[in-house]
């Protein structure tokens, strides 16, 4: 397979000199908000010279549903179900980020079993998010249907786990300040363990089928290159940042939860192109399976809720806190200001997908309009989080 990559890398991309190019005239195209590959209601205003993108301005707000304003008018606990609907692929990690921030704000301890459960659920979320992202990305590239079906087959297994634990497939609303809502049974853990252990089989199949594919390599390598300096300066986080070779993973840097107890590696890319971003997801899934295996071996019976934590009439002390975690899409943070009342005075979400779009224009300039979809797909956005 490596031979294929080298030959393709050696092959130069054909110089784009379209006959249809007008005399320096730019054609303005509005892509979205209804577009099959913009992952929701994202819109870009693109100025094209022939097929080449010369300017790109993202337009947001088509799913701005006032998450922060509602958060300021609701109690601390009342915002928990809303966090599910931020990044609706990863409700568990959203819950965790919010719970972590409130725990920082009020100084709440979390029992050991709950911490393990949080790691397990976050890593399962990462698995299903990355799997469906690869499916969507390939579907944007023209592999219509098949990869997405495979990815969704695996996703459904994990969603079944979530459903049997939390009661809902997507909107889990599972974590609480100071622990988790319900204690999973041993059968659930055994089932989850089995799914995690079988997951590499899917990955092998998927990588054989797709990642060595000549068309995939041709469409992704050297497309949408991003330099490490720009990525850091533009606040890019998550797999997108690591594809540029920057070693920054909050699981390692902050060591929140019980991540310091697990042995796992952080894959790093070299070129910062779309192929590297795609591969980061594939490699991260393997590391997530490693974390899951260790977590299932270490988790012990015990309480899942801190008995001292107050759920109703919860009033944290006056002050502020910023907590963040490594969500599948990047750094997800919550910034809370308490004025001592039951509602937060300020409730701010730091959305990774929104900030990762900052350099979309830089990545797309000079590429064809067909590549824009691939580059956007590799950023991994969810509009619920972009617009909130």
């Amino acid at each position: 397979m490596s031979a294929t990559i080298e030959t393709l890398e050696a092959m130069e991309r054909p110089p784009v000199s379209m006959a249809s190019r007008l005399q320096g005239e730019l054609l303005e195209v509005s892509m979205g908000p209804q577009h099959p590959s913009t992952h929701g209601v994202f819109r870009m205003n693109v100025a094209l010279e022939g097929e080449i993108v010369r300017k790109l301005k993202p337009v947001f707000g088509y799913l701005h549903r006032n998450h922060e304003k509602i958060g300021e008018n609701t109690s601390y606990l009342g915002s928990m179900p809303y966090t599910d609907r931020l990044d609706y692929f990863c409700s568990m990690t959203n819950n965790w980020a919010y719970a972590l921030s409130v725990e920082k704000l009020a100084g709440i301890e979390v029992p050991e079993r709950a911490e393990y459960l949080r790691v397990i659920l976050a890593e399962l979320t990462r698995l299903q998010n990355h799997a469906s992202l690869l499916g969507f990305l390939l579907s944007d590239m023209g592999a219509w249907g098949t990869p997405l079906m495979y990815a969704f087959r695996e996703r459904e297994k994990i969603l079944d786990l979530f459903e049997s634990l939390a009661g809902s497939r997507m909107m889990c609303d599972y974590m609480r300040f100071g622990g988790c809502r319900v204690d999973p049974s041993d059968e659930w853990l055994a089932q989850a363990k089995q799914i995690a252990e079988r997951f590499p089989k899917f990955l092998d199949e998927f990588e054989d089928l797709i990642l060595g594919n000549e068309i995939v390599i041709g469409r992704t390598q050297n497309v949408g290159k991003l330099s490490a300096e720009l990525a850091v300066n533009a606040g890019i986080t998550g797999p997108m940042l690591r594809a540029c070779g920057v070693n920054y993973d909050i699981r390692k840097v902050d060591g929140y939860g019980f991540y310091p107890r697990f042995k796992f590696r952080i894959p790093l890319g070299e070129h910062g192109d779309t192929y590297d971003r795609l591969m980061m997801r594939a490699l991260e899934m393997r590391e997530s399976v490693q974390i899951l295996k260790q977590a299932f071996a270490q988790v012990q019976p015990g309480p899942v809720m801190n008995p001292k934590a107050k759920i109703r009439a919860f009033r944290p002390p006056v002050g502020e806190a910023y907590g963040h975690i490594e969500a599948p899409k990047g750094e997800l943070g919550f910034y809370l200001i308490s004025d001592g009342s039951p509602n937060p005075y300020r409730y701010r979400v730091r959305p990774p997908s929104f900030i990762n779009l900052t350099i979309l224009e830089d990545m797309c300039l000079g590429h064809t309009v067909a590549d824009v979809m691939v580059i956007l797909g590799s950023v991994d956005i969810v509009m619920g989080e972009v617009d909130r």
Partner: protein, 205 residues
């Protein structure tokens, strides 16, 4: 269908002759090849994709051909929160669809604003601007619920008459096929609702 005796029909069917009416044949064809508009808004869109994926497989009901162009679509599944910024685009898309066209309001947000009803940028239900055929509650509704709504829509299509006084709405020449698109105002959408489509009930309390 009333012209032919039921007994005779079964007898003919046994002999290999299938007798039907134009209306039944037409509706049978229509209801089993509903092409939805491929367009998702929010969380519910993911459940819509899951419905189209292998496990739930909307292809069993003839609805797997998601068309990105409104010109080719029969059904608009409003899957997710409609914001005020998005509402004009949705009405415009609906106007661009060819008759007969149907709308499923999927999820609490599309019905009424749902959990985000308090939001300043959230439209309190898509039925303020366009007529809705089937509502599915849920946040998000499960894929089974979407399939159920799909079957309800099929039943509705099956019952539509092609001729006579009570023929289907889309066949009547005076029925509107396009609806006015709201404009962006300084504080809100203008108008806030289409009075020909949406009449809030008068509450006496």
């Amino acid at each position: 269908m009333s012209q032919i005796d039921e007994q005779l029909r079964t007898e003919l069917q046994r002999q290999g002759v299938w007798v039907t009416s134009m209306q039944d044949l037409y509706n049978w064809g229509r209801k089993n090849s509903i092409w939805p508009l491929q367009f998702g808004l929010a969380c519910c869109a993911i459940e819509m994709i899951a419905t189209a994926a292998s496990r739930y497989d909307i292809a069993r009901f003839g609805g797997e051909v998601f068309r990105p162009s409104p010109r080719q679509a029969d059904l608009m599944i409003v899957a997710g929160t409609v914001t005020k910024k998005m509402a004009p685009q949705i009405v415009r898309l609906f106007n661009q669809m060819a008759d007969p066209k149907y709308v499923i309001a999927m999820g609490a947000c599309a019905i009424s604003g749902g959990p985000f009803k308090q939001g300043y940028n959230v439209l309190k239900g898509i039925d303020r601007y366009i007529p809705v055929d089937v509502y599915i509650p849920g946040c998000p509704p499960r894929p089974e619920a979407l399939l159920h709504a799909f079957m309800e829509l099929q039943r509705k299509i099956d019952e539509q008459k092609l001729t006579g006084a009570d023929k289907a709405e889309f066949l009547k020449p005076d029925q509107p096929s396009e609806f006015p698109v709201p404009r962006f105002g300084r504080h809100d959408l203008e108008p806030r609702a289409n009075p020909n489509v949406f009449q809030p009930p008068v509450l006496e309390r």
